[in-house]
Symmetry: C2
Subunit: 439 residues, 2 copies
């Protein structure tokens, strides 16, 4: 089978999968293709199916495919997406492609898309969809029924649990659609609506949104601009998804995957570059930390056994400290601690750290004593790990709060800061104690 036959087989497989509603499997087929194949294959699909598929790809891959497609095909695919997904994708396109595609879209949708890309993707404006039902407050029940009947195709993908009631574009009420069943057809909506509904401003951030959803059982919350005009609605599921994405990105960043989500179909050089950007900072920090060892070469040469314990102390302190980091990150995201509550966190950590430090120190101290039959070696190593565990949980618990307070990203910065400080401290403890007690 030659290359182009292979390609045709791929495209057929893709069509087949999309046809059977197996979008996730189709996304894997796309992932396994070469860059050129990908856009060719997506371009072959009907716009609606291509949109469905694009919506299921990692954002970077989706943006790359759209950039490689001819702008008119890209535009027709984008028009099939919901407003929030479209805006997110646009934000990821290179400016040239974005402009070309916008020019080919229906003017209204192009305008709306441009508006939406101005919002931060983690704000109410960035998470809302503009597809919603709204009616003027002077409209009657009969008028709503007529509109629904007339535009039922248009409204197919809209959540119609509630509609929003407007007064010259401004949000003045919410109308549970089921209330329409029981109302007289001539009643104007202003008499039926729930007035002064809860809404959020378009620039509200995720934690504000989360508060509103936590405090009320609504499936969607209307979003208004500074003039109180209704501009969209945030669905509960959209907020849940955004929170999950945020947490996931925190996890990846804490493990050194920075600069965007990595999938293995990205170019090798790009993946290596991103990972190195974080590793190279780390190696410098590591060299700084290890320089503490260099200062004690004389001590080390006379008690060479210590060299065995340096990596253990470094690694175990890192482990203990990272546990504290993880708990702080979690409590911060749950809103259970404020970034200023350093003392509270320290108090809670040092108590656990003391218990664990004594246990771990005893274990490693015992191992050292048994190995060399030298009680002083056991004491030096055990006591160092014990004290350094207390240091590690203190730093680990407090660093995320400090990072947050001074607007650094706690997910990226906490780990490297933690290990550098605990390494330096641990090496200094064990070697300085050894230089007094063992040499």
């Amino acid at each position: 089978m030659n290359a182009s036959e292979n390609e045709l087989k791929n495209i057929d497989e893709l069509r087949e999968l999309m046809h059977s509603d197996l979008v996730n499997d189709a996304a894997i087929v796309i992932d396994r293709m070469s860059d050129e194949q990908r856009s060719a294959a997506v371009g072959e699909l009907p716009a609606e199916e291509a949109a469905e598929l694009i919506d299921h790809l990692v954002e970077e891959q989706a943006a790359e495919i759209l950039e490689q497609l001819s702008p008119d095909i890209a535009a027709s695919i984008l028009e099939e997406l919901t407003s929030d997904v479209r805006a997110d994708l646009f934000a990821g396109l290179d400016p040239d492609s974005a402009t070309q595609i916008l020019d080919l879209m229906a003017p209204e949708e192009a305008e709306e898309t441009k508006e939406l890309t101005r919002y931060d993707s983690e704000s109410a404006g960035g998470l809302m969809v503009t597809e919603l039902l709204s009616f003027d407050m002077n409209e009657t029940v009969q008028g709503v029924f007529d509109d629904l009947a007339e535009n039922s195709d248009l409204y197919r993908d809209i959540d119609v649990q509630y509609s929003f009631v407007l007064d010259e574009g401004c949000l003045v009420g919410v109308l549970p659609m089921r209330d329409l069943f029981l109302a007289k057809r001539s009643t104007p909506l202003r008499q039926l609506m729930i007035a002064d509904p809860i809404s959020v401003r378009d620039d509200a951030d995720m934690s504000a949104l989360e508060d509103v959803f936590d405090n009320h059982h609504f499936l969607g919350i209307p979003v208004v601009n500074s003039q109180r005009e209704l501009v969209g609605v945030v669905q509960r599921s959209a907020m849940e998804r955004a929170l999950a994405a945020h947490d996931r990105s925190d996890y990846l960043k804490s493990q050194g995957i920075v600069g965007g989500e990595e999938i293995r179909s990205l170019p090798v050089i790009e993946r290596a570059r991103r990972r190195l950007s974080w590793l190279s900072v780390n190696i410098l920090l590591n060299i700084v930390a290890a320089s503490v060892i260099a200062m004690f070469q004389d001590t080390l040469s006379s008690v060479i056994a210590l060299a065995v314990f340096l990596p253990i102390i470094s690694d175990m302190s890192g482990c203990s400290g990272n546990q504290a980091v993880a708990v702080s990150m979690r409590e911060l995201s749950l809103g259970l601690i404020r970034p200023s509550e350093l003392l509270r966190v320290w108090g809670k950590e040092i108590s656990v750290g003391t218990i664990n430090g004594i246990c771990l120190g005893a274990l490693v101290g015992l191992a050292a004593f048994l190995w060399k039959a030298d009680p002083m070696l056991g004491l030096v190593v055990g006591l160092s790990l014990c004290v350094n565990t207390m240091v590690a949980v203190s730093i680990g618990g407090m660093v995320p709060l400090l990072m947050k307070r001074y607007d650094f990203d706690p997910a990226i910065a906490s780990g490297p800061i933690l290990t550098t400080i605990t390494d330096m401290c641990g090496f200094f403890l064990v070697l300085s104690m050894a230089s007094v007690l063992l040499v």
Copy 2:
């Protein structure tokens, strides 16, 4: 102010916050109380508000409070919760309390709750709510309107976008409520409904659910048992929330927070015990890895500078390997790789690992050379880090797949396995090479 005045102030504050719909703030007030205060304060609230608050606490804290309340108060609070939340909380109660509380609940709800706790919490049955609208297929539109009018209070918290159509309890159709607006009042539902709707079995797992939600735009999916009887509905937001919780727990486990989510208001001993369970395994693995160093004490005593580089090689290999672990975890959860695709992952990792290994090795080798003006030292250290980076990304990329394949939890096990192997390998590389080239 004495203790009991303080307590009263707390309870007043709690009432005030719940009254102002500030449930998250109320949850913090609860978190800061002592164990006894907590249940006393929750017991003072009206059942509905107490339920609201319980729903916002970390599950373990909620269970503890319910166990300490008198069973009749606990039962009245639980009756206010939705079926899925109630079942989750029940699963966390000690069996004695659970039985006592069940006995005091309305028999129907007690029966339902017992049924629901049988489901795995990450299955469709565990995620569904039983609160839904369903009608017999022979019911007319008028009949539905009458039922809605009559039971509008009961239905207040139910998602009424769709109702489900049954034939002797078995799911045969779905009815978009808006279609009722346009239908004649005498039409039976069997003529209006969308027949053969998509549904999931109650034992379907999360990835199956995710597939259905990914492939369709529904806000909720009906759940049926083995007899095709309708037993509940899974909301899209419930699935998003469960996926997020799963990811979060993976993050915590990967950082050594095992045995359940830790919040700092848990008892110190319990927190220390859980963290130690993971740390103590790690320290044993660390000692095993460091024993490689012990085998090369002679080499170390003649080239003491090597001791400086051992922790650097250990730490940097860990960093590189953890990046690969994070990407594998992510691709596994996105469904982009199957656990059997070891070779594919290895190929993708080794290419990045070679580039990064050369860069990092060159950096650390240069540092060694400049420090001691010894080109051989630079070569030994640099080459070791280079090779060990390649080892680390290979292990890091593949271990999560292997864990998944053999049913271990990749989030907990991958990190310790990775660092143990890369430490041993790294120490061996640098010390054995040194014993040939430097001694």
